[in-house]
Symmetry: C2
Subunit: 233 residues, 2 copies
Amino acid sequence: MTTRVPQERRRRRPTRSGVLLSEDLIVQTALRLIGEHGPEALSVRRLGAALGCDPTALYRYFHGTDDLVLAIADRIIGDAMAGFAPGDDWVASLRDMALRVRAGYLAHPRAAAMAAHRVTRRRNEIRAVETGIGLLLTAGFPSADAARLYLAFIDTVLSHAAAEAAFQALPPQQREADRRSWRDVYQGLDPATYPSLTAVRPELPAMADSSFEQAVDLLLEALAARARALGPK
Amino acid sequence: MTTRVPQERRRRRPTRSGVLLSEDLIVQTALRLIGEHGPEALSVRRLGAALGCDPTALYRYFHGTDDLVLAIADRIIGDAMAGFAPGDDWVASLRDMALRVRAGYLAHPRAAAMAAHRVTRRRNEIRAVETGIGLLLTAGFPSADAARLYLAFIDTVLSHAAAEAAFQALPPQQREADRRSWRDVYQGLDPATYPSLTAVRPELPAMADSSFEQAVDLLLEALAARARALGPK
DNA sequence: GCCTTACGTCAACAGGGTTGACCCAATATG
DNA sequence: CATATTGGGTCAACCCTGTTGACGTAAGGC
């Protein structure tokens, strides 16, 4: 096929049904498809049909399915981080970043579930990394630590957000069954075999809730403690 | 197809090539397939070929691919936690738990990636929760905190492990591309636009590495600090 | 208005999961 | 032991998927 996928295209030729294709329109349509009919609704053929073009026309814009998925992921990141500017408090700024990313994922749960664990190497992602590492540098961490700690931070945020998105992407019936299981399954346990669970039994229903903020706060606590241990600047 | 998938089968009939099928043999062969020929080697047709039976014979044992994956996941959990016993040091024990779960997932990335965000409230998981919460109780946390903090801990472990497994489950080509991107794309960036990335440039290739232990250690640090803040028992 | 070529279209291939019909042999029963 | 039942292995078929190479048309530079 020798698809070249040029950066900017000059000859814009309408499809049989009159639509003018663009990378932007394709990504946007893909997100709509996934949002409406689930992740399994995203296929080259269906996307082509939704766009009103031959499926293989997409290969003029993306090298393959994987490339398209990365483009979708990057748009989610971009939308989530739109308008974000780091403030004076680096801990609060990282926390804000985390919550934004999570909100972006939850806005497109099904798309996020399939694209979450990828490195998009596109503009929006690069900008986010720049911002995050910059915050850790202002916290006083030496560059080697800043990079490694940012990785731990963002991986935690991304994987937690992905898990939440995946849960949201489940069919409602299955999601409710999972939620109930914390209450049902853990109720009639033998106190002798499960003493600890028995001791915290009143708290168990709360375990169906999200741990996202709790986990992020714990991580930021540890980061703040390490920054303090560096000594005052 | 109205596959009934009975619990115990009574008529065991050898396949054309003389093999006696069983749920156990199928799961075992599936794991071997994945281990030997990579994650993408798992398909109904290939599994049938490896077993020496018609691919559709598997539908007598599992309702579909999904059912098979869950059976595989169940075995992974059991194997990972086999022989684990909590020690005196609660931090070290939680760390051990985390590493076991991760190892179990990474031993079978494809299966783990497919079933990671799925909730299987089975015996092995309940025992793990009992153990984990017990450890936090011995650390001195009140029961409400123990439950919530354990949730944050195990969610971090599980979602990180799932992310790693998902990465390992990628086709080799995409996996290598993701790995290279940290070195290639992030190298030739404009220093004016990306000052922080430029500052930590030598560290960037290391960002292709796993952040699992770093993240777990940060979390355990925060937990230990909070336990200390409770005052000595 | 011509020439080049970008890009939308088409046909085809290899592989996937899943189904319903078929039929034989392993078991239950007499 | 013989017969009836049915579990379960097999086969052909269907429709899906991503991806390719060839083809031709219309858009834009000159």
